[in-house]
């Protein structure tokens, strides 16, 4: 018997590692001052194209979003596509969509921070910013969809002369409280890791920027004691915000799950909505990272193929999970044998808007499953960018299927609605909300350092190649 000796694992030769090293941000360190300079340059450089985009988006927000909304307030909700029995249509759909998008920031920065996933470092802030602005855009929709928005404060629980108290049995009040909590905590969570970077920016700017950062940096000097406190605060917030994030979309799903509406009252809606939210949110992170990388200066150093690769794997896992919940929900309703539910599912798949249902399945299941398993594909930014855009189209269609199309075909056949016709007002406001989100993001990307320099430096310090015998092995030092 001829014995053949094989190494147990593939030990990379040194050359290979040297090449590999430059592909990974953590093993490609640069001096702190150079990184500071790169981030500052990215923040302060504004091209002509940038101003044109800001101008157009600002005008669209004014006209489409605020103009149409104002017109709708003074005329009535009849301007939208709503009608009996579809009392909720595009506004609530878009609301759920934005709340879903806003889950990515917390997921990427809090959960990945808690689990010490190293690839998160360069884009935690980009994701947190998405959370805040996604919530800002989403939280406006419950107001937009109200018949008498001028009385919205009646939902706020405070002692008042009217002797009125909100109905705490109503999911809309839970919603209101959950979203307010999430908005506040995610804004604080965006702000805390920003303080060291604001101080960095303060020391390198003059004029109005200097005074702005001076105020916002709260006199940060970078002493050991300050670092100790801010890290503790961040850890506390990271752990505290995770349950808040899970609760928010669960509560949003209860808006539907606690009702009598067939197709809505499903006990699985809580986790189903959360998985959908993270799925669409992480996809939106990739979309935004691609845009940041291709439009802002120096970003190709910070955001690399490895990050798209890691996020692509996450998206694929969430696509699997989402499909599980989707078919679970579907199967239980079908197996329940309820005639109304059966009719509803048949309408989803064969009704006049069946193409929406099939597009959802293709975008959320077929496309990610066929493409994202491939490492080369995941590492091609443009390719994964297109996939993530499609996923969000699919997720929007999913909410559309759940909300107006379930309302349309309920128990009494006499009251079945006909097809949903989007009107200028609701389409305009929905598009306007996208413009609002991009507008806020664009403006903010030039106001705050979009890359957390200290977090990258921390990671680069911790990562090193160690020599074990002749082999070089990648290692991470535990910092905390």
């Amino acid at each position: 018997m001829a014995a053949e000796v094989k190494p147990l694992t593939h030990v990379p030769v040194v050359d290979e590692l040297e090449e590999d090293r430059h592909n990974e941000l953590m093993f490609d360190p640069r001096p702190r001052e150079e990184m500071n300079h790169m981030v500052m340059e990215a923040m302060t450089t504004t091209t002509r194209r940038y101003w044109i985009a800001v101008g157009i988006l600002g005008a669209l927000v004014l006209v489409l979003f605020l103009g149409l909304w104002g017109n709708q307030i003074f005329t009535g909700l009849g301007l939208t596509s709503k009608r009996r029995p579809m009392f909720w249509t595009f506004y609530i759909t878009t609301f759920v969509f934005w709340i879903g998008i806003s889950h990515a920031g917390t997921f990427v920065s809090a959960i990945l921070r808690v689990f010490k996933a190293e690839f998160r470092r360069p884009f935690t802030r980009a994701a947190e910013l998405m959370t805040t602005f996604g919530l800002a855009a989403g939280a406006l929709f419950p107001l937009i969809h109200m018949g008498r928005v001028w009385d919205f404060y009646w939902m706020i629980p405070y002692p008042n002369q009217r002797w009125l108290w909100p109905n705490f049995r109503s999911p809309l009040v839970w919603d209101f409280l959950a979203i307010t909590t999430y908005l506040l905590s995610s804004t604080i969570y965006l702000y805390l890791p920003l303080i060291p970077d604001l101080a960095m920016a303060r020391d390198r700017t003059t004029g109005w920027r200097h005074s702005l950062y001076k105020t916002l940096a709260l006199g940060w000097r970078g002493t050991e004691a300050e670092w100790h406190r801010i890290k503790r605060a961040m850890t506390i917030f990271a752990f505290a915000i995770i349950p808040v994030m899970f609760s928010v979309h669960t509560i949003v799903s209860w808006d539907f799950a606690v009702t009598y509406v067939e197709g809505w009252h499903s006990t699985i809606f809580g986790p189903y909505f959360i998985v959908g939210a993270i799925f669409s949110g992480v996809s939106a992170v990739v979309t935004i990272l691609f845009i940041i990388r291709s439009t802002m200066k120096n970003m190709k150093y910070f955001i690399r193929a490895e990050h798209f690769d890691a996020l692509g794997k996450l998206i694929l896992i969430f696509s699997f999970t989402w499909s599980y919940f989707f078919f679970n929900d579907y199967l239980l309703e079908w197996y329940g044998g309820d005639q109304v539910a059966k009719q509803l599912l048949t309408f989803h798949a064969t009704g006049p808007e069946a193409w929406i249902w099939y597009t959802m399945l293709v975008c959320n299941i077929v496309i990610p499953w066929l493409t994202l398993w491939n490492k080369k594909f995941r590492r091609t930014p443009l390719a994964i960018f297109i996939v993530t855009l499609l996923i969000n189209v699919g997720m929007y269609f999913e909410r559309l299927t759940i909300i107006p199309f379930s309302l349309r075909t309920q128990r009494s056949p006499f009251d079945w609605g006909s097809e949903l016709r989007p009107q200028f007002t609701d389409l305009g406001i929905v598009i306007g909300s996208f413009c609002l989100f991009i507008f806020l993001y664009l403006v903010m990307s030039r106001l705050i350092p979009l890359v957390p320099v200290w977090e990258i430096q921390e990671g680069q310090t911790a990562h090193q190649l160690r020599k074990i015998g002749k082999a070089k092995v990648k290692s991470v030092t535990e910092l905390d």
């Binding site: 009849g78 109200m146 009646w154 939902m155 109503s170 809309l172 006499f414």
Partner: protein, 238 residues
């Protein structure tokens, strides 16, 4: 004066004698200042009704097809789905009278109640429906005119209940069966709609609700409606 207040109002609709003539719909609209939204809006699904006739066709085609009619309105559920979902208590329950009240002044227009109603009994004011000048004299002064952005529904003609109570009180007597007739019941030419006090076992409505033809719509949802229907089709005796 407890006997003028503690009532469980209810209604019985006999589908065997309902002809689907829509007189109740018209009478309801006149009594309760329900706006006429126009042909286009109605075709789009924005007609305002507190009561409407659901028409179903029986039979599979040919000459054997027969229509059946089922007047549908707020079922005044004892366990109403519209009530817990309203964030501002605009949809509230009168425990003593077992009526679902809708407080227009308090409504902020989330339309959650309308989504959650299995009977689709609620209407929403999509616009301000102002009547042209001479026609505004038609408005019933006892009923609030609703503005845009407010949900509304059948109230069991609560203004008639109140005025009957006031009248009985002024005459110093207890209310008797037949004192209150809602607009739909008054207009019904075949007397298919009977209204009265379900807590009084001798009232006409209580007697009618004991018929073996009785059923309540979507009773399996345990909303416990106050409106009983008597099954049509002429297969049973009354």
């Amino acid at each position: 004066m407890a006997d003028t207040i503690a009532k469980k109002w209810g209604m019985v609709i006999d589908l065997d004698v309902c002809t689907g003539c829509n007189a109740c719909v018209t009478a309801c609209a006149m009594e309760n200042n329900i706006p006429t939204t126009g042909e286009d809006e109605v075709a789009y699904g924005r007609g305002m009704y507190w009561i409407y006739i659901q028409r179903y066709w029986n039979g599979l085609g040919g000459t054997n097809v027969k229509p059946t009619h089922q007047p549908m309105m707020c079922q005044q559920c004892s366990n109403a789905p519209c009530e817990p979902v309203c964030p501002v208590f605009a949809s509230v329950h009168s425990e003593t009278e077992n009526i679902n009240l809708q407080v227009y002044n308090r409504c902020v227009g989330t339309r959650y109640c309308a989504n959650n109603c299995p009977y689709h009994a609620r209407a929403f004011n999509w616009f301000d429906y102002n009547l042209p000048v001479p026609m505004d004299k038609y408005l019933n002064p006892s009923v609030t005119v609703r503005g845009r952005g407010v949900a509304e529904k059948c109230t069991f003609c609560i203004q008639r209940i109140r005025s009957a109570q006031d009248k009985a009180k002024a005459e110093g007597r207890a209310m008797v069966d037949g004192d209150v007739v809602p607009a739909c019941g008054q207009a019904c030419p075949s007397d298919a709609i009977v209204f009265g006090d379900l807590s009084d076992p001798n009232s006409r409505v209580s007697q009618a609700s004991l018929s073996e033809r009785r059923f309540r719509v979507y009773e399996e949802l345990s909303t416990d409606p106050s409106i009983y229907y008597l099954k049509g089709g002429g297969k049973y005796g009354s």
